[in-house]
């Protein structure tokens, strides 16, 4: 990104170098004399017009057009003054030093609320935020009024507020000839230029922040809309958890979600809600993280956050299992519920074993047709011919809920035999399994009844199954197709 910015800056540089400077100098002269810099701007230059519009909007937005900016401006200008004094290196040489980019940042810094117009460029906002951070960082010394005025206008190279690399901007600022400042201002008048300016500025800023790398990068990622006040506190907070990506992400997401102006309250940890996704994405969001908002009063290091996420996932699944397993509603507590789940799974497995044993013992006395019929029944959605009325008797012979009870005595003897004669290769196949089967009947009985009913209806036509209490027709059932 820095490279892109440099490139764009380099591209733009010649433009304003040739054009802007010259015109700017003239304008600066006029402007310097004129306290009302808005009017003094020569509108011919697109930069200037844009800049004036930009500047005016913040000015308009803020009730204190001058004083509001003054604070920030003063600091910046103070810094600028230092820079100016350092020397007159040609700032134009470095692409990062283009005034336009400086302008924009300066103009925007004083007014946090007026960042809206510039929020179009997320990168810009980040830079602005960083700049504002710098400004509040107190890097700036005193301020001279004249300097401040020029500074206000130009907004320019004051970016080098850091003063670390004042060389680049010093010539610009250094000219008490607000010439260059003006040029900077004029340059950045157009929003696009402003953005590019900001972009260039960011690169310069990034260069100027060798020491504050962590905070800087974090901030760069963090706030799309630069909130001047917020950045210092999150910066401080971030420093505490410097290595925590998740933490920064959570803060980031919190900050992103907060509307402009609410920043301070929310800047520190505790959001009201826990968000698992990032809202507005910073330019380079790490995509492989699940972003979690830390709750109020809870630890916010990455480990506990991950732990919390896991715990909630587990309790979510436990709730789901609670619905699946009958009789789990009264139970509260993970351990007991897990015990219930284990018991239920065991009983289900035993039921399957028992049923397979039952199927093995019950010799199908029916013809193969029956099975073909059944398979056909389940495969096709169509109904079988109505001619199979003889099956109605068997259909009616399914007394729901009653059937299993009837079925059991038939096979009761056999399981006993099997139990004694078979080696207990299959675990769980014990006599209690029969009880388990019976016990489980009420559970699935209702469901099974309906299924059975539907099976019968489906396979044998739309016959009204009638509950058939009493003997089961075990006679020959002939299927007439």
């Amino acid at each position: 990104m820095a490279e892109v910015l440099n490139r764009t800056a380099a591209q733009r540089q010649p433009t304003w170098n040739t054009r802007g400077l010259n015109s700017a100098t003239e304008q600066v002269g006029n402007w310097f004399l004129n306290p009302n810099w808005n009017n003094s701007m020569d509108q011919s230059d697109p930069f200037e017009s844009a800049l004036s519009s930009m500047v005016s909007s913040p000015a308009a937005a803020s009730n204190v057009p001058v004083s509001g900016e003054n604070v920030m401006m003063r600091e910046l200008i103070g810094k600028l003054g230092n820079i100016c004094n350092s020397g007159d290196a040609s700032c134009y040489s470095t692409p990062l030093n283009s005034p336009p980019r400086l302008n924009l940042s300066m103009v925007n810094l004083p007014n946090q609320s007026t960042l809206a117009p510039f929020s179009a460029d997320p990168g810009f906002a980040d830079r602005a935020a960083r700049l504002s951070c710098f400004s509040t960082g107190g890097n700036f010394g005193g301020l001279n009024d004249p300097l401040m005025d020029s500074f206000k206008l130009s907004g320019n190279q004051s970016v080098n507020v850091n003063g670390t690399q004042s060389n680049q901007n010093s010539p610009m600022a250094g000219n008490s000839g607000s010439d260059k400042k003006n040029t900077g201002v004029s340059r950045s008048s157009s929003p696009e230029n402003a953005e590019s300016g900001v972009s260039k500025e960011e690169s310069s800023v990034s260069q100027q922040i060798p020491s504050r790398n962590d905070a800087g990068t974090r901030k760069r990622k963090s706030i799309p809309r630069g909130k001047a006040k917020e950045t210092p506190s999150p910066a401080a907070a971030d420093d505490k958890v410097a290595s925590e990506n998740d933490e920064s992400n959570s803060k980031r997401s919190k900050r992103d979600g907060a509307p402009a102006g609410n920043g301070n309250a929310k800047a520190t940890n505790d959001g009201d809600e826990k968000r698992s996704k990032e809202n507005s994405k910073p330019p380079e969001p790490p995509k492989d993280y699940i972003h979690v908002r830390a709750r109020r009063g809870q630890a916010t290091d990455s480990h506990s956050l991950a732990e919390r996420v896991r715990r909630e996932k587990i309790s979510e699944r436990m709730k789901f299992l609670q619905d699946l397993v009958p009789g789990c509603n009264k139970v509260i507590g993970k351990a007991v519920m897990l015990d219930e789940i284990i018991n239920y799974v065991q009983s289900l497995q035993r039921q399957v074993e028992f049923l397979s044993m039952k199927l093995a013992t019950v010799n199908p006395r029916m013809d193969v047709n029956m099975e073909a019929l059944l398979s056909k029944m389940f495969q096709s959605r169509g109904l079988l011919p109505q001619g199979i009325y003889s099956m109605d008797s068997s259909a009616q012979a399914f007394p729901f809920g009653y059937q299993p009870q009837q079925g059991l005595p038939l096979n009761n003897g056999i399981p006993n035999i099997t139990e004694t004669q078979f080696s207990m290769k299959t675990q769980g196949f014990q006599l209690p399994s029969i009880n388990g089967f019976t016990d489980a009947n009420p559970q699935v009985g209702s469901v099974w009844e309906d299924d059975l009913q539907s099976i019968v209806q489906m396979g044998f036509g739309q016959n009204q199954p009638q509950s058939y209490q009493g003997s089961i027709t075990t006679g020959q059932v002939k299927i007439e197709l």
Binding site: V345, M366, V368, A440
Partner: protein
């Protein structure tokens, strides 16, 4: 409930189809319903039916869940064991080693539920290698499939027994 059965792609119908086919295959060798099949025969049939039930259920689920995959692989190795009886002990040793290795990782954060989680892992096929979170997912799906299995088998058993 009607819609469930009528839906040809539901788990229940898929399982039923497969299971019935397997059942007919198993019952086919009995040309005549012998009066009293020997217990041994019954036991053999029982085993085959049980395997068929598990297999058809696992196939109905395809490989979407860990437990179905584990069941299928277990069934395949078992069949292989039966055919190559001599290799039985060896493969069992290797599987045990694999299980040990697999079970060591991914099982933190169970808190006070280690015992129950361990039991659940024994019950759910393929549960040894999962952490609690996934284990609960698998358990939910496994329970759902087991209940389906029980339902269908009950129905079929009753249909059979009515004859």
């Amino acid at each position: 409930m009607d819609s469930q059965l009528l839906n040809p792609t539901s788990l229940k119908s898929r399982f039923t189809t497969r299971f019935l086919r397997a059942l007919t295959k198993i019952n086919a060798p009995n040309p005549i319903s012998s009066s009293s099949p020997t217990p041994r025969e019954i036991f053999q049939r029982y085993r085959r039916i049980k395997v068929a039930a598990d297999k058809s259920m696992a196939y109905s689920v395809r490989s979407r869940t860990t437990w179905s995959r584990a069941t299928l692989s277990r069934l395949r190795t078992r069949s292989r064991h039966r055919r190559l009886a001599s290799f039985g002990p060896r493969s069992s040793v290797t599987t045990a080693a694999v299980l040990e290795k697999a079970s060591s990782h991914g099982k933190e954060n169970e808190g006070g539920l280690v015992v129950q989680a361990g039991e659940l892992r024994e019950l759910v096929p393929g549960g040894e290698t999962m952490d609690l979170c996934n284990l609960l997912d698998e358990t939910a799906h496994y329970i759902k499939c087991l209940t389906t299995q029980v339902q269908v088998m009950k129905t079929i058993a009753n249909l059979y027994s009515l004859e």
